[in-house]
Symmetry: C2
Subunit: 215 residues, 2 copies
């Protein structure tokens, strides 16, 4: 038996339940029914419901990281940055499950230091991918090279994650996010003028965007 493969299968089923019915619907019983494995088999793999959700989180995060690597391979500069930021937004079932299970563990993170370290390692991975794209965009002359890439990546990822979170909670916000591409607009506003798609004339860099750069 390939135990790793079976755990991945169970995680995929768990995430399907999260997408269709929410985190609250995940139980040994519901996952057993949906996966075809008995609750006894599931209990062999997972200590409790929480463990099943944690495995599903790790599975979902690995999928998201793989997607980010593909983006960095296929796209360049600001287009890669926009794609990395927009990629995990809850616009389809897979991403809806990721956002919901992630949000569930954010709460664990404010109660439990070990969980905080794990959850932070995932947001850090997202920030690093974004930073990678920022550095490339700076090298291509698309973004101001005097901006701290780690800082800019941190703000961009916080923005995208806030949009994901509020999209989960409120349908109007979800529609705004789906229809108005806030991430693309934000990144576009950061572009250095010469590289702007609409060909705006070059202007002096805004002081506010530079004086507060750290280090």
């Amino acid at each position: 038996v390939d135990h790793e493969q079976r755990r991945r299968e169970i995680s995929a089923v768990t995430l399907e339940i999260v997408a269709s019915e929410g985190v609250g619907a995940v139980t040994f019983r519901s996952v057993a029914e949906a996966s075809g494995w008995s609750t006894g088999v599931l209990m062999h793999y997972f200590k409790n419901r929480q463990g099943m959700l944690l495995e599903a989180l790790r599975f979902a995060v690995n999928e998201a990281s793989r997607s980010q690597r593909e983006i960095l391979r296929d796209l360049a500069g600001v287009e890669a940055l926009i794609a990395i930021l927009e990629d995990p937004l809850p616009v389809d079932r897979q991403r809806l499950a990721l956002s919901r299970v992630f949000t569930f563990f954010y709460a664990e993170a404010v109660s439990d230091e070990e969980m905080a370290a794990e959850v932070d390692s995932y947001t850090r991975r997202w920030r690093r991918a974004a930073e990678h794209a920022v550095v490339a965009a700076q090298a291509r002359g698309e973004l101001d090279p005097t901006q701290d890439p780690a800082q800019l990546a941190a703000f961009a990822v916080a923005f995208a994650d806030g949009l994901a979170l509020h999209s989960l909670l409120n349908d109007e916000v979800r529609d705004f996010v789906t229809n108005a591409s806030p991430v693309r607009r934000w990144v576009d506003a950061l572009r250095v003028p010469a590289a702007k798609a609409d060909g705006a004339t070059r202007r002096a860099p805004r002081r506010s965007a530079r004086s507060s750069v750290k280090a």
Copy 2:
């Protein structure tokens, strides 16, 4: 006995524990020790630990709303908007407790529809205050009047909330947020040129910021 007053006192003590030790440290025992009330008295007011945290959330949200009303009374236009967005960021103990307890209930919201409605009502209140400031800023000529104020407020609040959440999880992000005023920079980038503090010359409105406005 003024029961409402006592519940508020207990909530303030609960939030102190959340600020100093985290949500995980809140128990009937720890709140009893810190408040001077017996666990028996606490159990008279709250069904369980969750109920104590929920009361603390409501107390913290009311404080935050009061603060937003004061901002709307004391400041105008974009300065009011920036203050409303920055106000709940976890830069002091009171706001740290608010952010932590809020994040704890975000997870409840992805498991429980009733909780989702309550949590969403609080973020909606925050969006409405921001929208109020956006409309005033548009009337003052500081922000593009063709932008949908509800949409702009939704994006702004999601940005601020993402910054709050990631500040909780990661000290580097918290330092970035504290030192680089990302919210102020973001709002500043949205200002119509004539109203910019640094006196940048007037330029054509960016097409990207307008073409995607909904309705």
